[in-house]
Subunit: 392 residues, 2 copies
DNA sequence: AAACTTTGTTTATCCACTAGACAAAGTGCG
DNA sequence: CGCACTTTGTCTAGTGGATAAACAAAGTTT
């Protein structure tokens, strides 16, 4: 069997297309769907009636007439099922339950007592249990579980390496699938964050996006041609370890002068600790505290500006490489937009190739702490809507 | 009209699929094509008979029996037409005429007398005239012209900027199309080189390739998931201007510390000129001369090693970002493999993420000076084979 | 109220693929 | 050598899904 053998494929594709259009452009009439897709009215009618039987869409009341018979408007039945998304962080775990439109129904955030493997796994399963228990009744119930993790994930859903968790070779997908007997998706945190912003956040109108997850380290998620790009073995985007100073600081990765040593939360805090002024005042040097301090303390402000500048160095390279439509800064440093953004934009404006700056948008995350969870939610829902239509 | 409306689409896709399989796996019988594609025997028979009528494939004699009736073997008719590929360089122009399998039939290389716009355009048209004149007679004749240029090309085939040629806003595609009334493709030199190596060179078995075009400057071509990736506006890959030294040398692009200032042909020659030893001997400090010198002169050798090391710095970042299966070094510096490769591999082995080094291949160009021309040839042929099948 | 519009269903038709029969042309064993 | 079995490739009947066009239902406009 090669790639494209076709027959029912046509039907499946068209059905998915119709569903997608109804989902994105609801409320919409059958006639409009036909016009938008280019499909025949009769074809649309028959596909729509199947989708209604499957409870994936609904008829709402009649719409406004445009000079003739009033149309019957169609709605995506976003309550046909629910999806679970988990952001498994280094020292927190965020669980989210949404309907099929990504509306958050229930949410649960916990801090680990310690970051042992046992503790994290226990919190993971407790959170999922809790989210499942709080799922409203619906036709399809919970349709899948997605988990974003700060590490390298194989195509088979195995966590190959998560340095900040000190994990290696954890077959997370299989473990969760076996336990709940639901479809499970494991994805890198930055990849998921990128997709979350693309689907639900500030990146909805763009096809080529670079998402910079600036937290303890720096990770990158790439949306190319509207879909997530993953390297050959399914793990890439470790751009945090890009060299920006040939003989710079030594990094734990073995290289020198890595970007994330100069532009991440960890860099910020290291620099704050080196500051005589800030340190001597006995402040608690965390990201949140520094964020507050910056309102009044010039040294703290300039610290953020320095981080912004260094963020800009790496992003300039990214802009020159990918020529994206949009850069999105996400994860923990997104909260520092006020101080970081001007320095960052300054660096990019002065140093990126001019051609690549046309139409380039630079934004900070809109979903905030939800980016990653919403990204895996999106994957899970998409998979469900395709698979569900396939086997019918 | 949206994206996928389907009906004859099924036929077109299957026909293209059948043709592709015959092209790649010839000689092959109808029965085997059916098995490989998963299509019905009857379907394959009917598609094959259409392709024969269109002279795109031929029947050759009977093949070996495997215990029953002997199969009729099918061949791709690579002589049904010819394609022209041009590598428009900074100080040379290489034109190639190939059949539909990419076999070179005729070739023409010229050095410019001066690098004025007039001179280059005249050489371009003279070369194309010459190649067309030398085309053997065939059913379809010359099926298209592809041109690779050292600059940024828009999706509409306009050269937006070619710094080393001092060109801006040249509507090359339209000019050539109007003159010859043939389909024309314009592509960036590094992108074309990447695709050339993917289709005809050392990258044939890989899906994720980073092609490093190291010439006067450094350009990058990306093959992601088996096809060429281009940025949102259709021009990217200016990775030569990646920052590797925050406060490094000033680059003409306006940034500082750009990679190509440390790892290109231009860097090599600059460093050679700074060398007291090499300079005092009155050598002609060109790439070719230095390449010879390195056989005996240790200073020249170490110069190459330095370039190799700096090449490795940038490539390390690329490996960490894209996790490619393969890196291919092409363009002028490909000729220095002997001296450059060990230093380059050394840098990557020590500094790239270990996970990304599994199965990573590092190769130097196989097509040599033909990479770019063969790349645009491949695009032209592909376009012909698809379009041709579409409108029937 | 008559004429025109728009929506959505139904019906007849077409097109491409499939399954399976079948003819042609082999192989292999007794 | 003959008979059974295999493999290749074509042909025929049948099926699924798309389309076009007719039509009914339900509006608007003048």
């Amino acid at each position: 069997m090669n790639q494209t053998w076709n027959q029912h494929v046509v039907k499946k594709e068209n059905k998915t297309l119709v569903l997608e259009i109804i989902k994105n452009q609801a409320p919409i009439s059958r006639a409009d769907v036909a016009q938008v897709t280019g499909l025949n009215k009769g074809t649309v009618s028959s596909l729509v009636s199947e989708l209604i039987k499957e409870q994936l869409i609904q008829e709402s009341g009649p719409g406004e007439s445009s000079g003739g018979r009033r149309p019957v408007m169609l709605l995506f039945n976003h309550l046909a099922g629910y999806s679970i998304g988990i952001d498994l962080g280094v020292n927190y775990l965020l669980g989210v339950l949404t309907d099929l439109d990504g509306n958050i129904v229930h949410e649960r955030k916990v801090q680990y007592k310690d970051s042992s493997y046992q503790e994290i796994m226990q919190q993971l399963f407790e959170s999922i249990d809790d989210l499942i228990a709080s799922t409203p009744s619906s036709h399809y119930g919970v349709i899948g579980i997605g988990i974003g993790v700060p590490g390298i994930v194989s195509n088979e859903g195995e966590i190959l390496l998560a340095p900040n968790l000190n994990w290696k070779r954890i077959k997370l997908k299989k473990m969760v699938e076996d336990h709940y007997e639901l479809p499970v998706i494991i994805e890198n945190e930055a990849n998921a964050g990128a997709y979350g912003e693309k689907m639900f956040g500030v990146g909805q109108d763009c096809q080529d996006i670079v998402y910079v997850s600036a937290g303890v380290g720096i990770g990158i998620g790439l949306i190319l041609n509207g879909s997530l790009y993953k390297g050959s073995a399914g793990f890439s985007g470790e751009l945090g370890h890009m060299t920006i100073e040939v003989n710079g600081l030594e990094c734990s990765c073995g290289n020198k002068g890595c970007w994330e040593l100069y532009a991440s939360e960890q860099a910020l805090i290291r620099k704050a600790e080196q500051s005589v002024t800030l340190n001597s005042k006995g402040y608690d040097l965390t990201l949140d505290r520094l964020n507050q301090l910056a309102e009044s303390d010039k040294e703290a402000t300039s610290l953020f500006e320095e981080i912004g500048d260094y963020l800009g160095v790496g992003i300039t390279t990214i802009v020159n490489t990918f020529n994206p439509e949009q850069i999105i800064i996400g994860n923990r440093l997104a909260s520092t937009e006020k101080w970081v953004k001007p320095a960052l934009i300054n660096r990019i404006t002065n140093y990126a190739l001019k051609q690549h700056q046309n139409n380039l948008k630079i934004n900070f995350s809109k979903l905030n702490i939800h980016s990653t969870a919403m990204g895996v939610i999106a994957f899970t829902i998409e998979k469900f809507l395709e698979v569900d239509l396939t086997h019918k």
